[in-house]
């Protein structure tokens, strides 16, 4: 059975494609502007395989970047909870940096690091890092007084225990934020590839754009949608399994 995320995407994709075709036939546009269904199917058969590999390549970079930003956000949030002023400083800095479009910094990264894996990874991580950080700081800075009181008053509280309590109590919130930021990691990677990289589905879209080949772009979008949905489904599944396990223990 298809997961709801996947069939939601399929429905949206079908509606979008239907609108495009309605526009094509309603305004009598040529196949050069909007390809016919035959052309789209032909392109899918020809480029489906290579594009699928490109999507997997992009997905791998997005997952790596996502993991990197989760780890980094956890470390910074754990440090940020130490004192009120460090937490406040990190939170303010994160808000300000988040307000700045990271994509605008991407050319600098490509100039400095080249158009290889590092640049794509860094941009993907940067795009999903700040929303993650803000949520993580919120979670790790907020005391769970009714649990922590005992450990504080008996002198048993350690930083590991404090982090464990706060993470455990907010596991649902953390899972939701991680799933939400996964889309941003994927978007960041594709945008990075689109700007300057030489691999991934973003790069393929750039080539298709230069060729004004909308059929290729539609095929790429379809595969991106399915790939992203599958990643989100996996994360949701892992999050639910973790929560279920913690509750049943």
């Amino acid at each position: 059975m298809l997961h709801r995320r996947i069939y939601q995407f399929l429905i949206i994709y079908a509606i979008g494609l239907g609108l495009l075709l309605a526009l094509k036939y309603g305004l009598n546009l040529s196949d050069y502007v909007i390809p016919s269904p035959d052309e789209i199917v032909r392109t899918c058969r020809t480029y489906g395989g290579p594009y699928l590999l490109a999507v997997l390549n992009t997905l791998a970079v997005a997952v790596l970047g996502h993991i990197l930003s989760i780890c980094l956000a956890t470390v910074v949030a754990v440090i940020g909870r130490l004192t009120a002023w460090i937490g406040s400083f990190i939170r303010t800095a994160a808000y300000n940096i988040q307000a700045y479009p990271i994509v605008a910094v991407a050319p600098i990264i490509f100039i400095l690091l080249g158009d290889g894996l590092q640049s794509r990874l860094l941009i993907a991580a940067m795009i999903c890092y700040f929303p993650l950080l803000l949520s993580f700081i919120g979670v790790f800075s907020e005391p769970i007084r009714e649990i922590e009181h005992f450990y504080e008053s008996t002198g048993r509280m350690t930083w590991r225990l404090q982090v464990k309590i706060r993470a455990f109590e907010n596991i649902q919130k953390l899972t939701t934020v991680i799933v939400g930021s996964a889309t941003m990691a994927m978007v960041g990677t594709i945008v990075a590839e689109f700007i300057a990289a030489t691999a991934g589905i973003g790069y393929s879209i750039r080539i298709a754009l230069y060729q004004s080949d909308l059929a290729k772009i539609l095929v790429a979008l379809f595969l991106i949608g399915v790939g992203t949905s599958l990643y989100l489904v996996s994360l949701e599944w892992a999050g639910n399994a973790l929560q279920k396990r913690l509750k049943s223990l």
């Binding site: 649990i147 005992f150 455990f168």
Partner: protein, 230 residues
């Protein structure tokens, strides 16, 4: 180990009025004492002052010989990643394992310690919370509504057993139950509203113990005194 508060005045930051103005009290030695009074008069505030959570008040609290004060309240929770017994074992010193079993039995928790805290009823949760505090090293344990939602029979059994198990420790029991504080506590500190003077009045309780016969006349008098003072 008497605990004596002198000329205590306190106002919460940004609050309009003072909670206490020139408050004086004295608790004599080990035993089961009570802090009684209507809601909002400052029972929890005074408890937090005694435990050192609230500082920066005027006046002094002299507690010579009281090394460790613990404060527990009825909304506390145990972490959810292990069952209640595993949690007790984690926080109880090895030497205190026998006492742990004894407390589990007295508190009527044998059938529940294998469960997670969130699966327990409110009364069971409060009992589990109190057990873990009793397993700690303390000189004064402040129990802020710690036996709320526990039935009367079990509450009585628990208080009497605690008196037997910890004869050399001091307990300050915060409760709204007049009959209970009058019956089981040796000294009842009745805290009154800020407009009344003195703000705290000490009433002698019956200090009922397991082996002793209770005197209904004495209990009635203590209850009347408490109600009158409040």
């Amino acid at each position: 180990m008497p605990i004596e508060g002198r000329h205590i005045s306190y106002r919460y930051p940004n609050a309009a009025g003072e909670v206490f103005a020139d408050l004086n009290f004295r608790m004599d030695g080990p035993g089961f004492h009570a802090l009684f009074g209507p809601s909002g008069v400052g029972k929890t505030t005074l408890a937090k002052m005694l435990s050192g959570t609230i500082r920066g008040f005027e006046g002094t609290i002299a507690d010579d010989g009281v090394r460790r004060v613990l404060y527990t309240y009825n909304l506390e929770r145990l972490p959810g990643w292990s069952n209640v017994r595993a949690h007790f074992e984690e926080i109880a010193p090895l030497a205190g394992r026998r006492r742990m079993e004894e407390l589990i039995e007295t508190f009527g928790m044998e059938a529940n310690v294998g469960s997670r805290f969130h699966r327990l009823s409110l009364g069971q949760q409060n009992r589990a919370n109190l057990i873990r505090y009793l397993l700690q090293d303390f000189d004064l344990l402040i129990m802020d509504e710690s036996l709320a939602n526990v039935d009367e029979f079990t509450r009585e059994k628990i208080i009497l057993k605690v008196k037997i198990l910890f004869p050399d420790r001091c307990f300050l029991y915060i409760s709204h139950n007049v009959a209970e504080v009058a019956k089981f506590c040796s000294q009842v500190l009745v805290l009154r509203s800020r407009s009344r003077s003195p703000q705290l009045v000490a009433v002698q309780g019956c200090d009922h113990r397991e082996s002793a016969e209770s005197d209904p006349g004495l209990l009635e008098r203590a209850m009347l005194e408490i109600v009158h003072a409040a």
